[in-house]
Every structure is written in structure tokens, then in C-alpha cells.
Symmetry: C2
Subunit: 334 residues, 2 copies
Amino acid sequence: MTIYDISEKAGVSIATVSRVLNDSGKVSEMTRKKVLDVIQQYGYTPNAFARGLGLNTMKTIGIMCADSSDLYLAKGIYHIEQKLRANGYDSILCCTGYELESRAAAMNLLITKKVDGIILVGSNFIYEKESDNRYIADAATQLPVMLLNGALDAPNVYSVVSDDYASMYSATLQMIESGVKDIVYFYNSTSYSGMRKLAGYRAAMKEQMIDREPLEQFYRGSHEDIHAMTEHLKKLHDDGLKFRGVIAADDTLALAAVKYAREKKYRIPEDFSILGYNNSMLANCCDPELTSIDNKLEILCQHLIFTLMGILAGREMPKKTIFSGEIVKRGTTR
Amino acid sequence: MTIYDISEKAGVSIATVSRVLNDSGKVSEMTRKKVLDVIQQYGYTPNAFARGLGLNTMKTIGIMCADSSDLYLAKGIYHIEQKLRANGYDSILCCTGYELESRAAAMNLLITKKVDGIILVGSNFIYEKESDNRYIADAATQLPVMLLNGALDAPNVYSVVSDDYASMYSATLQMIESGVKDIVYFYNSTSYSGMRKLAGYRAAMKEQMIDREPLEQFYRGSHEDIHAMTEHLKKLHDDGLKFRGVIAADDTLALAAVKYAREKKYRIPEDFSILGYNNSMLANCCDPELTSIDNKLEILCQHLIFTLMGILAGREMPKKTIFSGEIVKRGTTR
């Protein structure tokens, strides 16, 4: 039995349970009794408690990411690591790859290392199939789990996300309004965040009564292989599909679209419009430079650490915090 | 007194001291006596010993890097992390920035966390002033310190490097032989590796009796700000400097040179040649694509972990291992 189970059975918040066990006042005698009754009735796991109460802490946070060489994830890790250090915490990084099994293993490893909390960097940690997300909910019975740009409805799991849906929705509308209608949506992830972006594109297309399913293109190759991405678009063209715009789920895919348009001798943005996502340094690398959506990664990280520090101090913190993205206009859109 | 002091005073290797204390045979009675005499004479620090002998180990390696959001460093961390895990080790990552003070602090923190060894990723950890490198030599009296692409001559410090000098030397020669003589060397780091690259460029220029110091251009701004880098080159042009080639110390700087050449309407590579370094994904981002030097990062990382595992097992390992780089020819050179 964990601190969460007690909070559920007693019908009070985790912070309240923590206060009772910590004897840190501001709890009514009735609530106090309820909590202690549950503990007496069900027993408890002292280790998980000690951790939950900030006793015996290693002052270390576990960080998990799929691949630290991914430009966006690397930036996230950087911000998180810096902000943890500023709060007196060390971090242990595990690069897990994309397989569920290795993720569950990394999660257990971090728990045995007695970290005070775990941060999952990147929405790819949330799987489409709900039962595949058990490894997160299970871990969260022992320590707080923070999701950067992912969301999962489970106790002791906290999310800080960018509103990818709204960003993609308004960017798609803008492109349509600029006169481009044959827009390919080019994506390579069906993560939580990936599906939200796709939904934003779909909603805008539908609102403008543009309904063309084949224009959604899923790319399966390496996330760094720009050539393979460009080939994907060339094949579409060779298959007879007409398109004059690409909305990409990240900047690398968008860069491949720039390459494609240049090879086809389209003028950008007069004949061909391209939008990227993440506003990474890649956006400045091509010619013309890439219009891209900035999802405010540093602000997300800052808020995630703020939330985690609050939780570890036993304060009541929001389960989910949503920030808005912003379109950074450069040369690839009208 | 540490395991290193004993090895020095007894005139035997650290591995031998380790074998004596570990009672793992293959040591002559004379050597054995020498080691035990030194210990009796000077006393010793049991903790440092225990760590040196693989007793009481946490099976955790500390990794330090300046900035995990740097494309090249992030890739290095990724490979190292993967290979450590494959060997049953966890890792603790510290992003230190570029200041000596924060590095010394991170080093001490990792030592108090009882890591089994420390890996410094990136040659920027080695300072030009010798006394500034004391923090590394000091740490190495307590645990092995591994340098990825840096070198420092101190006991218990091990290096795995790419031969940046030779790579830059032959790339510069190639560019000169292709008919380009007015070559700017564009760099932003005076780290160990940075100075080796510069020296390779200088040697090739000197050998061809091209002696023009102002063509060495040091860029001081952010390592991601391509616009500022491009401005730097434009200013050179405006100041009246004539140049028809850029050899850059990394791919980002080279990308800025591509931007510069495009703005000046030079044809690449007919009128203007550009060479990058690292062969990162950026090399595929521009048009034409970038010729770049591949310094075999993954192989370096693999060998570094192989060396570290050997040291931790008490085997004699090479102090320094040097790999050759390779020029990957693409569209920016003739």
C-alpha cells in the first residue's frame, strides 16, 4: 500500500496524507483520524512513505527520454537539468529508446535508485493503447511522475503540455487563408502530442470543407534521415498527387519539404508553402528560412520543475498545465 | 593517500596495486612487498581504495558535458549512455556550462555520489592554461577520468580522440589543390580539439606557402546563432577581405558560410568552397549539401567505454587512443 492508496481510501489528497504523517499541522482532527484509520486497516510500505514525505531523500530526479540525440528532446533535457540543479537536485538520465519493455525496465531501475520523482521527456512515452501506459501509472503509486508534453489521467501523474492542437489548427487555417488548399500533412509520430497536432490540422481542413484523406502522410524512417523524407514526398508527386503546401509535425520533416520544393524548382513561398514545428535551430538552416511553431519548450520545462518542487514539498499542485504555442513567421509561408 | 599515490611511490601501475589489494594473483612477491611497504609507510584512504577495487560500487558513471543541447555533445552522450547501459552501468549526467568553477563543483558532486568513474564529453573541458586543468587531475586521484576528444597528461586520466589535426590538414590540402587559395578558417572554440584543428589548417597553408593570418576568424557568439555567424562573414567581406572558401570548425559555422555564399550569389562549389566538421545531420540540411569531416563519434564512444570497463576491471588500458577522421564529400567542395 502506498501513500496514494491511503489518500484514495481516506478520501483526502496526497498532500494531506503527507501532512498527517509528517505531523506538520493544518489538518483537522477528523481528517487526521481518517488517514490513520486507513493506515491501521490496510498497513503500509514504509519506504514509499519515507520517499513521499521527503525523508531519507537522495535529492535526485530520474529523467527518461527516448533518444538524447534528438534535437528537441536534448534541448528539453538541458533545460530540465539546469533547473533541477538550480533547485539543489541532481538528475539521473536514462535513454530508453522507443520500446515499451525497455521503458518499464528503466522506470524500475530509477525507482530502485530511490529517486524522488521521474520526468518523462517527450510525448512518445504515452502509447495509444491504454494498457500500454500501465508502467507509468504503476510507477506513480510510488513517486510523482511528470510528463513533458504528454498527458495521462492517472493519480500522481502530472502534465505540462503545449497546446499542439490549437497551434496546428490556427497554422493550418492561416495557410488555407493564404490561398493554399492542397496541403500535405507530413508526420512521423502517433504519440499523444503527434495525434493532437494531426487533429488540429484535420479540424481546420474540415472547417474549410477541404476533405482529402490521402494528403495525410505518415513517414516511418529514421527521424534524422532527411533524404528518405524527401524521397517520400517525391514518390507522392510521382504517384500523381498534387500538393502545394506541406505542414510538418517537426522541423526536420519540414526541411525535407524545402528540399523537395527546391528540387521541383517551385518558388517558395509563391508556389509552395511549408510550415515546421518546434522552431529549432534547423528553422534557420534552410533557404528560405522556415516558418515554424514555437511550443515554448523552456517555459514548459520551467513550469514542470516548479510543479515537481511543489509536489515534493507536499503542496497541492495542478494535475495539468497547458501553454499556448506561437507561429514564428519566416520565409516559407505567405 | 590514494591508489595512484601508492602506485607512484611503489613505482608500479595502478592495476598492479589493485591486484595486490584484491589479492588476485599474477604479482611477484617482490612487487607485492613494495606495494604493501608503501601503504604501511604512508597510510591510505579506504574509501578511495574500495572504489578503485570495485568493492562497494554503485555501478554508476558520472557524465559531464558543457551543454546537452549542443548537437554534437548530445550525440556523444547518447552513445555513451547506451553503451554504459549495455555494460550494466547507470549514468548520472551533469550539464556544467563552460565555466571552470561550475565544472569543479560538478566534479566534486559526482565524487560524493560515489560514481565509479567520470567521463568528460567534449574537448572544451581542457583549458589552455595548464593550472586550470587541476580539477581534472585532482579528481583522477580518486577515480578514473575519461576524456572524449580531449587530452591531458595526468595519472589516471584516459583519452580517446579523433585525429583532428590530420583531418583538417588533409581537408585543407584538398581544398587548395582544387584551386581555392583564399580560404577563411572559421572557428569558435580554442579547446584542445579546436586548437588541433586550427593547427592542421595552418600546417597545410604553410606547406603550400600561403601565409595570411587575417584569414583566421574567431567567432564569439552563441553556438546556435547562424545569423550572427553569417553577419560575421558579411562584415569580413565589407571590410575588403577577399575569400572564396571557408573551412569551418563545425557544421553550424559551415552552414552560415553556405548562407553567406548564397546571399552573395556565388555558385557553390564553382565560385565558393565550404567544408564543415562533425558530419552532423545539419550537413544534409542545406543546398547544396555540405562536405564535412566525420570524426567517427560512435566509434570513439565505443572505445571509451571499452577502455573504462577495462580499467574498472583492473586491467592495464592505453592512456590515449587516436582514431582517424574521414572527409565525407558532398556538394560544397569541388
